[in-house]
């Protein structure tokens, strides 16, 4: 079975990818200025105290031993303890807490982008040079030019501060607490960490409306951006495909022009768009960093920003590796989808 081998080969490649990222992350720690021991021990620590901390961290050992032990730990997703931002807490638990937060934002934004951007792009391409087309294109260009850290604050000011329709920050009402697990047919199952999904699983309607209420503006900010990107891409890809020969043949066979466009054009135009959606997921994660900062949502983005600022290197390392893992996994899914859309790729 060619396609199972295709998928397995790609999953196996995750190993060198993560090995590479872990190595780069190790390099970043050692290239970064400043002494980790001083970050932990504080500015006034004595030379002996510093030496003590260095020994505890294993910084006195030869570099290659440090490297190998770092790789061993990273393979178990163990980056030690946070130096400063969640002092003493294992980095792994910090990451597990915050990963779903960013994931939820990125997924909501990406969904908005796909459901709005694809139709807008197609519409724009079918009605090329019409008023609809012009409005869509100028809208998309504006959507790309306006930085998230400006549109975000403006939306908060208008819809949260002045109109009071939405809360200004956070992802759920601070008085609401969701339990750690839920029950299905008498069995206890862990929750996803995505507040919109969890509240539905628990059947907690109040929590669900509160989550939607809180996440609407941040998701909108990311959604506008991804809609703009996807609609631009879909438009040009669709125009490219419509011009190709087989589309003319299909039309000559007498099917209605509209059906031709949808049936033949869409699937083929989707091929490059799917790849772009994958690559663009990284840009979206970058957008999530800014959005989380604007909306005060404690996800991976806000975490890496605070951690770099506080020289909390274990947290920086863990976050970078998690971002890379996320990015690679999404592109893996994209690649497999892509193989399905265009079977030629599976050799």
């Amino acid at each position: 079975m060619a396609s199972i081998r295709f998928v397995l080969k790609r999953i196996a490649l995750l190993v060198p990818v993560l090995f590479g990222v872990a190595t780069v992350v190790f390099a970043i720690l050692h290239l970064a200025p400043g002494d980790p021991a001083r970050v932990i021990a504080g500015q006034r620590a004595s030379a002996e105290q510093l030496e003590q901390v260095r020994r505890e961290l294993g910084l006195h050992r030869p570099l290659w031993i440090q490297y190998l032990s770092f790789l061993g730990d990273a393979a178990q997703f163990d980056f030690g303890q946070s130096y400063s931002i969640s002092r003493g807490a294992p980095v792994r638990s910090v990451l597990l807490d915050r990963l779903p937060v960013t994931l939820e934002l990125a997924i909501l934004g990406q969904l908005a982008g796909i459901f709005l951007g694809l139709p807008l792009g197609i519409l724009s391409a079918i009605r090329q040079d019409s008023l609809t087309d012009h409005v869509t294109r100028i809208g998309a260009l504006t959507g790309i030019s306006v930085p998230i850290f400006w549109s975000g604050p403006l939306l908060i000011l208008a819809f949260a501060t002045y109109l009071d329709w939405f809360p200004t920050s956070g992802r759920i009402d601070s008085t609401l607490f969701l339990p750690d697990s839920w029950h299905l047919l008498g069995r206890e199952l862990p929750l996803t960490g995505l507040v919109t999904v969890d509240s539905l699983l628990l059947g907690n309607w109040t929590a669900f409306t509160s989550a939607v209420h809180h996440l609407f503006l941040p998701a909108l900010v990311i959604g506008i951006y991804s809609t703009a990107l996807i609609s631009r891409m879909m438009r040009s890809s669709m125009l490219e495909v419509v011009r190709q020969d087989y589309m003319r043949t299909a039309r000559a066979k007498g099917q209605g022009a509209r059906i031709t466009v949808l049936k033949h054009g869409f699937r083929n135009a989707l091929i490059p768009v799917v790849t772009i959606i994958g690559i663009q997921f990284g840009t979206l994660l970058g957008g999530a960093v800014l959005t989380e900062t604007v909306f005060g949502i404690n996800g991976m983005g806000l975490t890496i920003v605070t951690a770099i600022g506080a020289l909390d290197y274990p947290v920086v390392q863990g976050t970078v590796l998690t971002f890379a893992l996320l990015f690679t996994l999404v592109n893996l899914v994209v690649d497999i989808t892509y193989g399905y859309l265009d079977p030629r790729i599976q050799q």
């Binding site: 790609r10 490649l13 060198p16 990818v17 090995f19 590479g20 990222v21 872990a22 190595t23 780069v24 992350v25 190790f26 390099a27 970043i28 720690l29 050692h30 290239l31 030869p62 570099l63 290659w64 490297y67 890809s237 490219e240 091929i271 490059p272 790849t275 690679t328 592109n331 893996l332 690649d335 892509y338 265009d342 030629r344 790729i345 050799q347």
Partner: protein
């Protein structure tokens, strides 16, 4: 591997690429440590940075190599699909990354060995 090709045929060009890169890296790493030992404040600082730079190249190369294999066919197909003039090929990319990976690993070895001696 493909029929009619022996393992040596497959391994020789690859070993040559990685081998020469390894040697270059090891040389560069040792020289870097030696120079830093002469001019910089202390060997430890220089060794640490040189080793980290080697690790950076090694990790970057690994990432690029696996990324090329992972995305290779997709990118090549997309170029064909869009009729773009790109001349990116998976094989070229893998070869370049193998050199960088080898160089980085060589540097890490060179730095460690020289640091142990100095």
């Amino acid at each position: 591997m493909a029929v009619g090709r022996t393992a040596t045929d497959w391994a020789r060009p690859r070993a040559r690429i990685v081998g020469s890169a390894l040697a270059t890296g090891a040389l560069a790493g040792s020289i870097a440590v030696a120079v830093l030992a002469l001019y910089a404040e202390g060997t430890l600082f220089g060794t640490r940075k040189a080793f980290a730079l080697g690790a950076l190249a090694f990790g970057f190369g690994l990432l690029g190599w696996s990324g090329s294999v992972l995305a290779g066919r997709g990118v090549e197909a997309m170029q064909r699909h869009l009729d773009a003039a790109g001349d990116w090929t998976e094989a070229d990319s893998r070869r370049a990354m193998a050199r960088i990976t080898g160089f980085g690993f060589g540097a890490m070895l060179g730095v460690s060995a020289t640091a142990a001696l100095v």
